[in-house]
């Protein structure tokens, strides 16, 4: 049990270390990366099943009793997130074997991917606020290097914004952590939850101070999650690295910010729900609308997808703002659906780029005629994203909208539905431009040298298609099996809302 909580951190670290040792051999690095990610996936499955069986698990690192040491905790939500991270890690690593250029591979692509996964898993599993900050930094520094690896000019320009805004948000997070420590004298999240309640009960004046700190957390995690109004770094940078890197960023990084928001605003700051969660719901709404309108104005494959990340983050934040069990279950469902579908779409964009040598919609075209199978693989996650039944996105949105109707937030529900239509519009735009219309006859059109213009997939492209098929199949399965999945997500939401169990497990556990 204890081992299962530590292994999601140790496995990526070991894989990263080993692949550094075999620096000179790209083949060996690939093998180590693949084995590491596969092992991480297996451990994540075991962790989730253990949490399902025994309830919330916790362990004290270094045997220091809570609240003095660092605690690792896995409730259903954390375990699910670790599993999703491992899934995307594995899918992207397989994809990279086919897609990544030798230059990037030989400059530490696989070790960086492993470190990134370690940071993501650490953030999901930690039960300590300062430790959460440290894992965020681990994840960020790996993502910085992955983003600029290759050193092309657009990457550099995107990286400046990405690095700056993320460092600012880290500084805000660090300051907030410091103030919380000054206020309560503890950093263990379970312990903090109790102390904060105590402070609010003793002194009403301190309550507003706690709200101020809560707003600092909202800003810090909001920047990392790319919520309105500080999301500009995302569409400026996510379309610049290779598609595999974009896919892992799109799938995981912003969701770690959302995870932070959900964790902090269910466990710690629930003293003034009317204000804090009302504000969160409002931010969610504005994020949705801005993101989807931004996407409608774009004409490049990955830029449209990048703006849609922002829009989808809005749904998750909106559901957190509604703050009911059903809404949180919907949020968890939506996160799961979005991680899989969004990564899948980015991977498809990479395949299209490999075939046609461009991401510009005006220069793409005719993919449906030449590559019908690829078109199907795009169509499934795209329709899932737009929320067409019976795919995963439909049920995720349905859960959130139902929760909104239950608490009679009709404006929020109407916005969510309207954004759904606009999402469909963007997805149809990509479909019509890249897949449906006939290929443009340009004189200067130069297809990528590695792939001939004629239909048919070469070996590398076939490897790239494996994870795409896998993720698209998961999108369909998540839609078909929505009922049992929703049971799982409701359980995660119950654990989030009923914090007493979490607190009891963390504070009582003796290694």
């Amino acid at each position: 049990m204890k081992l299962l909580l530590v292994l999601p951190l140790i496995i990526p670290l070991t894989a990263a270390g080993l692949s550094l040792l075999v620096w000179r051999s790209r083949v060996a690095q690939r093998a180590v990366g693949l084995i590491g990610m596969a092992a991480l996936f297996v451990v994540a499955v075991l962790l989730l099943s253990a949490v399902m069986k025994h309830g919330i698990c916790a362990t004290q690192v270094g045997d220091w009793p809570a609240p003095f040491g660092i605690t690792l905790v896995a409730d259903t939500f954390s375990a699910l997130m670790v599993l999703l991270a491992a899934t995307i890690g594995l899918a992207v690593t397989v994809y990279s074997v086919g897609a990544m250029d030798p230059q990037r591979e030989s400059f530490g692509y696989y070790p960086l991917l492993c470190v990134l996964l370690m940071g993501v898993c650490g953030a999901f599993l930690t039960g300590d606020l300062f430790n959460l900050y440290v894992w965020f930094e681990v994840m960020l520094i790996a993502s910085f290097v992955l983003l600029v690896l290759g050193g092309e000019r657009p990457q550099m320009e995107g990286a400046i914004k990405y690095v700056t805004l993320n460092l600012v948000s880290s500084a805000i997070l660090l300051s907030a952590v410091g103030i919380v420590y000054g206020l309560t004298g503890t950093l263990n999240m379970a312990d903090l939850a109790g102390r904060l309640r105590q402070i609010e009960m003793e002194d009403a004046g301190q309550g507003s101070f706690v709200t101020a700190v809560a707003m600092m957390f909202l800003v810090a995690f909001g920047i990392k999650a790319a919520a309105f109004p500080l999301f500009f770094w995302l569409p400026a940078s996510y379309h610049t690295p290779p598609a595999a890197v974009s896919a892992v960023f799109a799938g995981l990084l912003t969701k770690v910010g959302v995870y932070g928001l959900i964790r902090v605003f269910t466990l710690l700051f629930v003293h003034d729900i009317g204000f804090t969660h009302g504000l969160i719901a409002l931010i969610g709404c504005v994020t949705m609308v801005t993101g989807v309108l931004g996407a409608a104005a774009q004409n490049e494959f990955r830029r449209i997808l990048s703006f849609h990340i922002v829009s989808q983050i809005g749904y998750m934040i909106l559901a957190l703002g509604m703050f009911t069990g059903a809404a949180l279950a919907g949020a968890v469902f939506f996160i799961m659906h979005n991680i899989i579908a969004k990564s899948c779409l980015f991977l498809v964009s990479g395949v299209a780029h490999r075939i046609r040598g461009t991401y510009e919609l005006s220069r793409l075209g005719g993919l449906y005629r030449d590559y019908p199978f690829l078109a199907v693989l795009f169509f499934i996650p795209a329709m899932a994203l737009a929320g067409i039944p019976p795919l995963s996105g439909f049920f995720a949105k349905l859960a959130i909208i139902k929760a909104g109707l239950d608490i009679q937030e009709y404006v929020l529900v109407a916005t969510a539905l309207l954004v759904g239509i606009l999402t469909l519009f963007s997805m149809t735009k990509i479909w019509a431009e890249a897949f449906w219309k006939s290929a443009p006859q340009e004189v200067d059109h130069q297809p990528a040298t590695t792939a001939p213009r004629a239909a048919g997939y070469d070996r590398a492209t076939r490897i790239m298609l494996i994870p795409v098929i896998f993720l698209a199949a998961m999108t369909v399965l998540a839609g078909v099996g929505a009922e049992p999945l929703l049971g799982l997500f409701s359980r995660a939401a119950d654990e989030l809302l009923d914090t007493t169990r979490y607190i009891r497990v963390v504070l009582e556990v003796r290694s």
């Binding site: 910085f144 000019r153 550099m156 320009e157 600012v168 569409p235």
Partner: protein, 115 residues
């Protein structure tokens, strides 16, 4: 002492934000650096300042007697400084590479990837 440090922290934040609002990339990085320092100092102050009371358990006693200087904020700051150093080293290399790629240190010249 608290007041002096509070003013210093505020001044560092202000200076950092001002530098970040400038167009030069170098100033941007210096600004980030200052904001990082401000956060570190903030943790130091918010942990409480206690003079001349090291957190040592006296002979014969079982626990610490308050007031004592809390060592934990300093441990946190140490961690944050190390992380900040690593990130800053990366940022320095990044701005050099950006300068080579773009040929300017003007942030307004780096808008081609914006939507």
């Amino acid at each position: 002492m608290n007041l002096v440090l509070a003013v210093v922290v505020g001044g560092l934040y202000a200076a950092g934000l001002y530098l970040m609002a400038r167009r030069s990339v170098v100033k941007l990085i210096i600004g980030l650096c200052l904001i990082g320092h401000a956060s570190n100092l903030l943790i130091f102050v918010s942990g409480g300042l206690t003079r001349g009371r090291p957190p040592l358990i006296r002979p014969g006693a079982e626990t610490l007697t308050a007031p004592y200087a809390d060592p934990l904020p300093q441990a946190l700051i140490l961690t944050a400084i190390v992380i900040g150093f690593g990130v800053l080293a990366f940022a320095m290399v990044l701005i050099h590479k950006v300068y080579v790629a773009v040929g300017s240190d003007d942030l307004d010249q780096m808008k081609s990837t914006d939507a």
